[in-house]
């Protein structure tokens, strides 16, 4: 059986004795050849060469061709901010007018990107080249920005308000975003992609009721369309979406991808009920970026050993691998997947170094001069859920000004990790006010957040 067939068999839910391995090397692929993130996302030759290097070094059963959730938004006129070590982020939201937030516009279908727009031709070109060069052995993933994340890119943080204030608008905008996703899926399948992954990190930031109300229909429609195109499908989410795993399964994907914010064993009991494959969830930052090779091997072996039955199981990073992930860490994971018994033997006496928390000094929350809002994110510049959580916080700061203090702690900054551990932060992104958790993986509406901050203003000691 070729590596590709092994993954296909898992996606067909056939009994397995081994789990396939899908490294999500997006911008990280460029690091292997010394290209920065912007170069691999804008230069077809560099992207292709980098992906071939991923294929050679990490021996994947499946691999994505490009991991950039801003690609569709860019075609639709969102301005991007480019980075050297991460995918670009969205700077402007064309469907939001700050002078008139109630001007809620749904773009006409004539604006759905054609195959010549933005960076789509570049991506299709590289997909075709990857198909020819590696497609016989390796399953190729075409990644598409999920409708909710795309709607947020277009409308900005106000989409979370719109879900309360104008339900019809949100439904219409998501229907438009779903049409964009289906169109993109058509381009990607035609260019040879075997699996179409709908990547929608923001799904972790809404309640199950809101999922059923707004997401069930567009996602079901998208997965039906991918099935009609003859491809496999996946539904990627980031953040703590535990509450939404069941409703995600009900939309009919062949597989679901989760990150370390979700307990893999717990999630698999749910996905197994629906006979949906589950992929995940090697921690991106603590392990892949900041851990060493043995940490990565040990984690992977333990992850595999959690499941006696490997049916419907895929091993992958929690999401797009950090750009600077040391090569040996991903190789370690690959080895642990492919030669589990040997690696289990190699790391059986290995103990991970304990984290030193003694140097972390937390603020004296009982004696603050003014309310302190701390936002703990993976990285607001590269993770969409974090971008919009941080957006909610900076919006609040703009309204309250000097009355409150606001700070972001990014998990991707190594020095912040002990602080995040000491604070006991369980999920990213989270918002704490005066040291107390108020929002965990749930982006607050403007009104609710303002209420919390006003309350803190009355209780904070002066």
């Amino acid at each position: 059986m070729t590596p590709k067939e092994k993954l296909f068999s898992t996606l067909r839910h056939e009994p397995q004795s081994e789990a396939p391995w899908v490294p999500f090397a997006g911008v990280h692929a460029g690091k292997l050849l010394g290209y920065d993130a912007t170069e691999v996302l804008t230069d077809a030759d560099k992207l292709f060469a980098s992906l071939m290097e991923v294929n050679r070094l990490y021996k994947p059963d499946g691999q994505p061709v490009v991991f950039d959730l801003q690609l569709e938004a860019e075609c639709l006129g969102c301005e991007l901010v480019w980075a050297k070590e991460g995918p670009p982020s969205v700077k402007t939201h064309p469907l939001f007018d700050e002078n008139d937030p109630e001007d809620r516009v749904v773009p006409c279908d004539c604006t759905i990107p054609d195959a010549n727009q933005g960076r789509i031709p570049l991506v299709l070109d590289v997909m075709r080249r990857m198909k020819a060069a590696a497609g016989d052995e390796t399953a190729l993933y075409g990644l598409i920005c999920g409708p909710f994340t795309l709607a947020s890119h277009l409308r900005g943080n106000d989409i979370f308000m719109d879900m309360y204030d104008d339900e019809d608008y949100v439904r219409d905008l998501l229907a438009y975003a779903a049409k964009v996703a289906k169109t993109m899926a058509g381009y990607y399948v035609e260019a040879g992609m075997d699996v179409i992954a709908i990547v929608d990190p923001l799904i972790s930031q809404i309640s199950t009721d809101h999922f059923r109300q707004f997401m069930t229909d567009p996602f079901t429609e998208i997965f039906d369309a991918i099935r009609d195109l003859g491809a496999f499908s996946s539904f990627f989410v980031c953040g703590d979406a535990t509450r939404n795993i069941a409703v995600m399964c009900e939309t009919g994907p062949d597989s679901i991808g989760i990150d370390e914010n979700i307990n893999m064993a717990e999630a698999k009991t749910i996905t197994d009920r629906y006979n949906v494959a589950l992929g995940g969830n090697i921690p991106l930052t603590t392990l892949m970026l900041h851990g060493n090779q043995q940490d990565n091997m040990k984690f992977t072996v333990e992850l595999l050993d959690m499941f006696a039955d490997k049916t419907n199981l895929i091993i992958s990073p929690g999401c797009d691998m950090p750009y600077a992930t040391p090569v040996e860490n991903a190789i370690g994971v690959a080895q642990a997947v492919h030669q589990t018994n040997q690696v289990r033997e190699m790391v059986k006496n290995y103990q991970r170094a304990e984290m030193d928390l003694s140097q972390v000094v937390l603020p004296d929350y009982e004696h603050l001069e003014r309310p302190l809002v701390e936002v703990f994110t993976l990285d607001s510049e590269t993770c969409a859920a974090c971008t919009y959580m941080w957006g909610a916080a900076t919006g609040m700061k703009a309204r309250f000004g000097a009355e409150i203090d606001l700070v972001e702690y990014k998990f991707t900054v190594k020095e912040n990790i002990p602080r995040i551990v000491k604070m006991g932060v369980q999920q990213l992104p989270s918002i704490y006010v005066n040291g107390k958790l108020v929002y965990s993986s749930l982006i607050p509406s403007r009104e609710a957040f303002d209420r919390v901050v006003r309350e803190a203003l009355t209780t904070t000691s002066k």
Binding site: C75, T111, N116
Partner: protein, 306 residues
């Protein structure tokens, strides 16, 4: 071999005058003209002698969504083997994709693309460049910049404007004119200088553009009411255009670009009761239109587009 020229510029910059002027430059040649102005009703057709006009309505040349219409119009025009084709782009369109659109035509050996002339509205540029996303894109795609209506600004303002534009595009010629009086040699010698590959690659939609069609109850709006309404709407939008029939049966054509408002009595054509309003993010038209049906009983309905 047909020479193709593209005339761009924001609404009201003087593109139509420029097309008429340029067609005179080629008066001994066989000229074809493709115009594309939202809501235009063929006003300039008769001015183009021995020319051929194709209008693309309800679309935007080089907005990807209407590229097919432009392709068809160009194909029909090329079949007539003119020496020159002047293309007037929509004032709201981003011309960045023109090279890509032309290059992928199967008949691309029948023509040579001579370049983009971009008209700049001297009195309004500083206002629109920050609010209308397409304006900087139009300037960036130009091979010749023409500061038009220079007679309407002070010498000092003109100097600042010229300096700003030269800084932004030091690589292209910059002319200053009034009434789009462009010297023929500037255009006859035009050469497409934009490097290949820089075009179209990142072409994107502009979702910040909004449009609405106001429909009035037939024959209910008095001329004074119409004028008051248009004055308010024009100040809050890029463009207001349409025709309204009054209670006494007379008809008024409206054509407003920002503060330049033109009302003219229409003596022929079909009675209509519509105004098209085009605006962008940051302008107050949407807010105004939301409350309009309540304030003005003559309004039958408002349809929004995007």
């Amino acid at each position: 071999m047909t020479s193709i020229y593209l005339i761009t510029g924001f609404l009201g910059a003087g593109k139509t005058t420029a097309v008429n002027r340029l067609s005179a430059c080629f008066k001994d040649r066989k000229i074809g003209v493709i115009v594309n102005e939202y809501g235009r009703t063929g006003v300039d057709s008769e001015n183009i002698l021995s020319g051929q006009v194709t209008e693309i309505t309800n679309g935007s040349i080089f907005c990807a969504c209407r590229a097919d219409q432009f392709d068809d119009a160009l194909g029909r025009m090329l079949a007539l083997t003119p020496d020159v084709i002047l293309v007037e782009a929509s004032g709201l369109s981003n011309p960045a994709s023109i090279d890509a659109v032309l290059r992928r035509r199967p008949d691309n050996e029948m023509f040579i693309f001579r370049g983009v002339v971009c008209l700049i509205d001297a009195p309004r540029l500083h206002k629109v460049i920050d609010t209308a996303l397409v304006v900087p894109k139009q300037i960036d795609a130009a091979d010749l910049l023409v500061i038009n209506k220079a007679d309407l600004v002070s010498k000092e303002d003109l100097k600042t404007l010229t300096a700003d534009l030269s800084r932004r595009r030091p690589d292209v010629p910059l002319l200053t004119t009034a009434f789009a009086d462009i010297p023929c040699e500037a255009v006859c010698n035009l050469k497409r200088i934009r490097p290949a590959g820089a075009d179209g690659a990142a072409h994107s939609q502009d979702l910040t553009l909004r449009k609405a069609l106001i429909t009035f109850q037939p024959g209910t709006l008095e001329p004074t009411e119409l004028k008051a309404l248009v004055a308010v709407l024009a100040a809050a939008s890029w463009r207001v255009k349409g025709r309204v029939t009054h209670p006494d049966g007379r008809m008024t054509d409206v054509d407003a670009v920002g503060e330049q408002i033109r009302f003219s009595e229409a003596d022929e054509g079909r009675p209509q009761n519509h105004l098209i309003v085009l605006w962008g993010t940051g302008q107050a038209a949407a807010r105004m239109l939301r409350s309009l049906p309540e304030q003005m009983p003559a309004v039958l309905r408002i349809d929004y587009g995007s």
